[in-house]
């Protein structure tokens, strides 16, 4: 019994893991997960944190675009009745309500100019992205047109705000498709090895040779231009890097003793792959995912710039940049959309780099 007491006495001390004393004390009860350590490390990288906030801001712009730039007011009182035209448009699109017949074609701006609205609150940018105003075409930044207008009088600021929707969704969805395919095929190849690995990796090599850009142009030529085709085409052609990366990681993780331990317990392969292998192999793939978002945004912008991208009625950063080609004196048409693309690509790259540093155990102090 005495011997047992000695064994039970705690003689080992927890390693500090590079956390300060107060942090160590505060986590006595609940353990610190790997991801909370990564978060802690990521927060220390100022550039990555600023990029993170910029991305959050861009997402905010994209989500609230209709409330920031719209040809209809947020709130108006007309003929004694109160209207919320922007919200009303949302409800109409879901089929909950309908404009009354006399209001369906109402030009709110004209009504406001004529002083018929008793009270009105406009959105911060009082123009929609597709609102054509031929009188004010190619106007430099002035008055209501904060960033000027393009060749057919569309407001640039409104275009940039609404264009962020396309750019961000292309980035996330294309990178998401690529990640899912890459993780599935890569982990299967790495875990099972042998002939399965051989087949998948040869397939990857075939896919690598497909030129994404020309594939998309071909798809657009055959099926017509749509944002969904572009997302899918970028996603289905850019997963190869992710697959190779995760295969390599899985090959490494597969030989760790905790996988042997899981085997000795008798756990089924599916459970071993999803619970034990992928969580340990995914970190570097997330880094490449951040870079992939930037790449997809750039590809979409390039396609739209060439006019192959989205349909003519959809405004994207790339299509706005395209406008600058026809009007070389209108500097604002080149500078502002170009700057937005630049900002988006740089921030995602900085986030990717910050993630890579945060995930690197050697840099942890």
């Amino acid at each position: 019994m005495e011997q047992k007491e000695i064994i039970k006495r705690e003689t080992d001390y927890t390693e500090s893991n590079g956390l300060t004393k107060s942090q160590l004390e505060s986590q006595k009860e609940v353990g610190v997960s790997y991801w909370s350590l990564v978060k802690h490390q990521f927060r220390k990288n100022k550039l990555a944190m600023i990029s993170m906030y910029i991305v959050i801001f861009l997402v905010f712009l994209a989500v609230t675009a209709d409330f920031l730039a719209n040809s209809k007011p947020l709130y108006a009182v007309y003929k004694g009745e109160t209207y919320f035209p922007v919200i009303k448009d949302y409800l109409n699109s879901t089929g909950i309500s309908k404009w009354s017949s006399d209001m369906i074609n109402a030009n709110w701006k004209e009504l406001d100019n004529q002083g018929k609205l008793e009270s009105v609150i406009w959105t911060p940018v009082p123009y929609g992205s597709r609102e054509i105003d031929l009188v004010n075409s190619l106007s430099p930044p002035q008055g209501d047109h904060y960033l000027g207008t393009d060749g057919i009088g569309r407001d640039l600021m409104a275009g940039l705000i609404h264009g962020s929707r396309v750019s961000l969704s292309v980035g996330f969805i294309a990178a998401g498709i690529a990640l899912i395919i890459g993780i599935c095929l890569g982990s299967i190849a790495g875990f099972y090895g042998g002939k399965i690995d051989l087949l998948i990796m040869r397939f990857v090599e075939i896919m690598v040779t497909l030129p994404t850009f020309f594939l998309i142009i071909t798809i657009v030529a055959i099926y017509g231009s749509s944002i969904w085709y572009i997302m899918a085409a970028i996603g289905f052609t850019s997963w190869t890097g992710d697959a190779k990366l995760i295969r390599g990681e899985v090959l490494k993780v597969r030989n760790m003793e905790y996988i042997t331990a899981a085997n000795s317990i008798g756990l089924p392969n599916r459970q071993i792959i999803f619970r034990h292998v992928i969580p340990n192999a995914i970190a570097p793939v997330l880094v490449s995912g951040a870079f992939a978002i930037a790449g997809a945004i750039l590809t979409e912008a390039a396609l739209s710039f060439l006019g192959f991208g989205v349909s003519a009625t959809t405004v994207t950063w790339g299509s706005l940049l395209n406008e600058a080609r026809g009007a070389s004196s209108a500097w604002w048409l080149a500078i502002f959309p170009g700057f937005m693309i630049f900002i988006a690509v740089v921030t995602y790259n900085l986030i990717g780099e910050g993630l890579r540093d945060a995930l690197d155990p050697r840099l942890r102090d």
């Binding site: 064994i7 080992d12 927890t14 790997y34 905790y258 000795s264 317990i265 008798g266 459970q271 034990h276």
Partner: protein
Amino acid sequence: MSDVLLEVNGLKKYFPIKTGLFSKTVGNVKAVDDVTFKIKRGETLGLVGESGCGKTTVGRALLRLIEPTAGEVIFDGKNITNMPLKELKQYRKQMQIIFQDPYSSLNPRITVGGMLTEILKFHEIAEGDAAEKRVEQLLDTVGLRKIYARRYPHEFSGGQRQRIGIARALSVEPKFIVCDEPVSALDVSIQSQIINLLQDLQKDFDITYLFISHDLSVVEHISDRVCVMYLGQLVEMADSKELYKNPKHPYTQALLSAVPVPDPKNKSKRIILTGDVPSPANVPTGCYFHPRCPKVFGDCPVIHPVLGGNEEHKQSCLLYPESYPKSIKAA
């Protein structure tokens, strides 16, 4: 119920060497070459040998973590060598393993409690609150605090991690545990704690061990019987006390002479082995040990000895007439 828990007959594990474009097999690494032994219920069998002699492969092959090339493993009267994986599941519950490296044997992304609960749930031992209680009980058994269940492996020291590894092995209430060098990665002071813990658990839960190690003094302390391995084969097998007092095989004698004795006046002659361990892909003729053996003689490069002798002490060395193969003995 027979008193033999595990029987290993003619176990072989060859790793093919493949080269070229079409992966042609040009040879085999004979990691384990015809190993036969028995383990009785409740005893500890030590398995010692140099690095690369196939100790670990034996341990893993008999748990079928590596599929053996040939031979059979009989556990509790049942041949598990060719058993389909579905049927094997219930035997996984009875045979467990403790690993050498406590740093790579725990999944860094799962809490200790999460890992143990997963096992308890999978083997339908306990779920929900009952599982939580069982986890606390297991941690208590291996001398860790209950609150550690919510922590991640990187928050523990090597000794604590090894205790967690032991708790994992115990969670399914096994009859037999392969201890694959469980203390070689630990500090000496922690080593003794873990060894004592293993011995206590053996008493409390009636567990049989196969204790693999290259540390002869540790093996002497914990084992009832000891097997000595060289190049994938057993060269000597005896009761622990007998082996350390009266080693018969020149290889065992050389190993034992290398164990440091904490007595400055003791100047016993150390037997220095010359040359390197031959590659298991290209083994010497006759006795595998003859190129390095200090007592080599005429028959050694020609005749391959077999494990012979009485039940208490067997050896495979041509210095002893009982080690000659039967066919040659007759001649």
